[in-house]
Symmetry: C2
Subunit: 579 residues, 2 copies
């Protein structure tokens, strides 16, 4: 395939035509009509919606064509960009500034020179070298054809299992199809949901003790309950050891603990690893976390080679540490920045906050910034956290559901460090607002003063963000010293809930004085011990804490009350799921 546009300016070759690569190419053209731009992509499509693949597998996105956001024709016609799909880079000579390109279909190899080279190869799904990994019926979810094959396989096996497909050679057993998803990250959870949409019985096998590792474990617990409620069988804390073929054509997924999960389809979603083969070929530096090393201008150790997207190491915006964070938004932004810099502009990348969201079964989990686990790992002790459970919209308007939020902030100055939110409604909104606040280095005091949209369908007069700011500021100002169920604070446990609530679920050893009786019954409480106060979510305990402190008691509010306890202590609780 010949270049359609031979231009007079610099020649830029972009390797990888999805998020980062495609953004870079389009931006380059906008900035420089004279550049010759060649974008090569190993797969059959450029600019496809990889975040949509699980939903195509599940039939939520019906047509494959919906996944193809822009094609070669559009790049050629609108942007005068040469695109070659099914084109693999098989050699890079940084010295000669050339790449060797192989046509995947014909095997033909050609050489292209470049003035600037942009690597956007992405990250590849981890495919562990396990016994049986190549059995038919085991899939990854990376490219459009993967999803197409998954959907076809599901159709075929469904027919087998319903006895409708007499030609497949499998035994005809009328039962539901069984899927095993391996991995508890984004793709794993999305595939679990989508296999259930397809009518499968689904087991999710995950080697760690929590799903969604960027959440702190107690917040993951809400998600896990919700998944289970929607029919996903969780097999956590158990890695996969291998795969065996059953006589009936199905697969046995054997785990480290020796369990065998039968499956008619297996989805590998263990995680991704930066594609660095090309970078190594070009002799450019790889970072300590295994991604391509770039500076803030997305330039690699070779000044004529840039790299963007999931393959590069980024600076964690909050902690300043080097990190691998595979996200579409940052990839797109990095692509644009590389284009800017190639065109002589002084753009730079500020780092990645890791703002993310995942939708499952109508609910959502989202986060931004750092999490408690990371802070603990790095030895950082200058932080505090709160749990709050505000309504997503006014309680007096129908169908108000709670949002579970954890907010982490600097103890010394109130700066926001991270937030996690879960719920059925408005989760994205809360995290987006906090993401913007973290971007600007704001504090919990700024959240107190925020003025956000309120109408009964959309929020509360005191928004969840105000509420988070107020609770955190109360902690920092000393108005409400805070404790946590798992912080090891010894103390006198005071439950200020109503006896009716306690009849349903109680905390062993806790004394009960309902809030409305507290002022009259202060004499029953010890003055020499720290009183740890709790209620259902923390609101009444806050009022109680204020009463106690002003009456000369030592008191702390156990943040998030019974709702936080249920996940921190892994107790069950009425209403303690996402919904």
């Amino acid at each position: 395939m010949e270049s359609v546009y031979k231009k007079t300016g610099k020649k830029v070759v972009i390797v990888g035509g999805v998020a980062g690569g495609a953004s870079c190419a389009a931006r380059l053209r906008r900035l420089d009509e004279d550049a010759e731009i060649l974008m090569v992509e190993r797969g059959p499509y450029v600019s496809f919606a990889n975040c949509g693949l699980p939903y195509f597998c599940g039939g939520v996105i019906e047509k494959e064509s919906s996944l193809l956001v822009a094609d070669e024709k559009l790049f050629r016609e609108q942007f005068a960009i040469n695109v070659r799909t099914l084109c693999e880079v098989v050699g890079i000579s940084a010295a000669q500034k050339t790449v060797q390109l192989k046509n995947v279909k014909t095997g033909e190899v050609s050489t292209e020179s470049y003035d600037k080279l942009v690597l956007s190869p992405g990250a590849a799904p981890v495919r562990p070298d396990l016994p049986g990994i190549d059995l038919p019926g085991i899939f990854r979810v990376r490219y459009v054809p993967d999803a197409r094959e998954i959907r076809a396989w599901i159709e075929l096996r469904k027919q087998d299992l319903s006895g409708m497909n007499s030609y497949s050679g499998y035994q005809m057993v009328k039962r539901a199809m069984r899927g095993v998803v391996i991995g508890g990250g984004f793709i794993g959870l999305e595939m679990a949901e989508n296999l259930i949409h397809q009518g499968l019985e689904v087991t999710l096998v995950h080697k760690h003790d929590q799903v969604l590792p960027r959440l702190d474990p107690e917040m993951s617990r809400f998600v896990e309950r919700y998944l289970e409620k929607h029919g996903v069988r969780l097999a956590l804390n158990d890695g996969v050891a291998g795969f065996q073929k059953s006589p009936d054509g199905s697969i046995l997924v054997i785990t480290s603990s020796g369990k065998a999960h039968p499956a008619d389809i297996v989805i590998l979603a263990i995680g991704v690893r930066p594609e660095t083969a090309l970078a190594k070929m070009a002799g450019i530096e790889i970072g300590k976390r295994g991604g391509i090393l770039v500076d803030e201008h997305m330039r690699t150790s070779n000044p004529d080679i840039f790299a963007v997207g999931d393959a590069v190491e980024v600076k964690d915006f909050v902690t300043g540490e080097s990190a691998l964070i595979a996200l579409a938004g940052p990839a797109n932004r990095q692509g644009r920045i590389a284009a800017d810099v190639i065109c002589g502009r002084d753009s730079s990348y500020r780092g990645t906050q890791g703002t993310s969201i995942i939708g499952v079964f109508g609910g959502a989990a989202a986060w931004t910034g750092t999490n408690e686990n990371s802070l603990i790992r790095s030895g950082d002790k200058d932080f505090e956290k709160i749990y709050i459970f505000p309504n997503a919209h006014a309680g007096y308007y129908p169908d108000a559901k709670m949002v579970a939020m954890k907010v982490i902030f600097r103890k010394s100055d109130g700066r926001l460090l991270g937030a996690q939110a879960l719920g059925l409604e408005g989760v994205d909104k809360r995290i987006d607002v906090i993401a913007m606040a973290i971007q600007m280095g704001l504090t919990v005091y700024d959240l107190e003063e925020s003025e956000l949209c309120y109408a009964p369908q959309f929020g509360m007069a005191k928004s969840a963000i105000n509420f988070a700011g107020m609770v955190a500021a109360d902690v920092l100002r000393g108005d409400m010293p805070v404790s946590h169920w798992n912080s090891g604070d010894g103390g006198y446990l005071l439950d200020v809930r109503h006896p009716q609530e306690i009849a349903v679920e109680q905390v062993p050893g806790a004394c009960n004085i309902p809030l409305h009786e507290l002022r009259a019954r202060l004499g029953e409480l010890p003055k020499d011990r720290e009183i740890l106060v709790f209620c259902r979510s923390g609101q009444r305990a806050y009022y109680a804490t204020r009463i106690l402190l002003q009456n000369g008691f030592k008191a702390k509010n156990i943040s998030g009350g019974m709702l936080a306890r249920s996940v921190l202590m892994k107790t069950e609780i009425v209403g303690g799921s996402l919904d």
Copy 2:
């Protein structure tokens, strides 16, 4: 009714027990267990959900009890606050620091002293002195009993009209009930929707030429189309002149232009006016806009009297001007600040951004900061605006709808001044993020770099916020000079849409060169004239503008393309409603 709690500390009397007053009372108690707090409320309820009243009228909120967020018992038991409802302040002596309270039921008058007085009387619906204003069937929507009466009236009249109520004495005509709503603000629109929920035929009479006056008129136009689409008949630009009774028991709403709208129920929602009678009684200063004057600590001209909520004049956070902005969130915050200050804390109110949202028929309109109209009125010319129409979530995922956004920013430094958004999904989220950005004085360049939640159900990899920032920054950096349909720029009109789109709707006098042919047909364009480029929403016109500028043409993108034209020029357009 005697005080239940006689405390040893200062005595605070709070007048008004809804948003600002109730927040102030609760915060006072949290800060000071010794204060004696008396909260009096003229109506029958404290802390009721006034923003829910229209939805109670429409039956969306079924039970009246849902509207009662907190009652006297809760205030007494949880907060040791004395509450008197149906209690009117009939006298204030600032010199003696006393208030005279009248029991509305018994007529009994008593005197209470105060150390600090907090006024939170709210704003009253305007009730113009028009002929027939007292006819039965004409209602305002302020208190719970108003909504109760509206619902009862609707039930009764529905029965009349269906011939089921033989005792009412009205003629038995089987037809739909007709409602006329007067006023195009929040309450007016919400009532129009809710009357339609109740099965009424609804006409909305409004004296101005646009609904929702805090939107700029072209953005209101989207809302107006959407209202009409959902069955609301709009009678704009026509004030109400009076009311007449018809023989069949219905009301004729006579307008300034001489029209007569028949109605079985009339809702007065013309606007609100700060309740300043008490303030005047106390001899404290009133501002030039007619609200109670307060400093940043919510203190009036009398150091022992504070005022909060809809009755006070606030500082517009963006423009610094004095303003009347009746919103629940700011009222609550002001209440807490007054309590802080009374308790010796150094809290202050930063001003009101006016962040607002209204839901209608499943859609929403929201805004924050200032609008173009206000800037023009104040003679401010250092601003630019853009219109964008991003998808609320990824286009490849089902049911993606566009959000219409207008963003206004400083030409000189990029500072965000205001934003307006409309659509069926995610409108609150976009405005909340921009509200947070405006709070911190951010610029459009900061929006470019924001990192927000992305999964196909919730947003786009390049979020609407990024998009707004990028488009605005393109304008400020000179990469994309911008024009507007109504800016009077004379120029050569270039339509870069596809001929298929032009077949559906065209702009008289515009030359058509589809984007994908532009590079080959540059010779057809004039070099000596400014070329004003447009497409459907502005995206392709941006690409075209870049091509033109780099090829030595003078070019500007007409912001928002055909979609903006439809509202700015009041043309009709396919797909030009909110949905």
